[in-house]
Amino acid sequence: MLFSLRELVQWLGFATFELFLHLLALLVFTMLVALRADMLTPALSWWLVFVPLFAADGLSTYFTAIVSIRLYQENEKRLAVLRLLWVLTVLSLKLVCEVLLCQKLAEQEQARDLWYGLILSPLFILLQLLMIRACRVN
């Protein structure tokens, strides 16, 4: 819409397959959130609801590791290291945000001091990094 797929792949530094994986995980996650909110099923803990997002992060890390190893073997060492560093940074920031949010939702009473500004701070850092990367890509 605002960006073409080619521009998104260049900007975000993720392959199309990884974008597909994260979007699929988000779809399953929203379905589980709706199920938890509507059915009020106590068996479905918040940690279970967040499993698709954690799984997507894990699979994406595995995929990136494989791609980086292949790039390294093909003598594209600089590209391999840069790609690995970028994707790991993005995924770790995303993971921190997910874990903090999940903790806040799962332990409402104990996590009272955990305010939303703190939970979403990795996203603010990620936004700045994406802006810097956009300048490079542009």
Partner: protein, 133 residues
């Protein structure tokens, strides 16, 4: 719009939206949820306007469809996806403001439709249709 302008637009509006959501969730402001979603309404309005202008441009006499721009079917899908996103945000705000007694699964239907469409589009890019030679 150039890529830099589009990146700047999405950056500014995402940043403002995130800040407003954080302020609302932490109870620092007591604004209406429709006001919190203001950056989303603005971006959606810009997107719809851009798509409608581009689609209308195809109806001009002398338009050459081979100039490399995405076809009408793709543009129609983008417009549908934007409207679905807008529908989701509107119903979500109505639920949060308790204007309507809606289940979250009903609210999420436009979002799911949009995501399934986006997944299909991504899937078609990953596994392109094989053409007979």
């Amino acid at each position: 719009m150039s890529l830099a302008q589009r990146v700047l637009l999405s950056y500014v509006f995402t940043l403002i939206f995130l800040i407003m959501v954080v302020l609302k969730l932490d109870g620092k402001v007591q604004w209406n949820w429709f006001l919190i979603f203001l950056p989303v309404w603005i971006v959606d309005a810009i997107l719809i306007l851009m798509l409608v202008i581009k689609m209308a441009g195809r109806c001009k006499p002398g338009y050459d469809p081979r100039n490399g721009s995405p076809d009408l079917r793709l543009r129609s899908w983008y417009l549908t996806a934007t409207l679905l996103g807008l529908g989701f945000c509107l119903t979500l705000c109505a639920k949060l403001e308790k204007l309507a007694e809606l289940k979250l699964s009903i609210v999420c239907i436009p979002l799911w439709a949009m995501m399934v469409g986006a997944l299909l589009e991504l899937g078609m890019n990953i596994f392109p249709e094989r053409r007979e030679v």
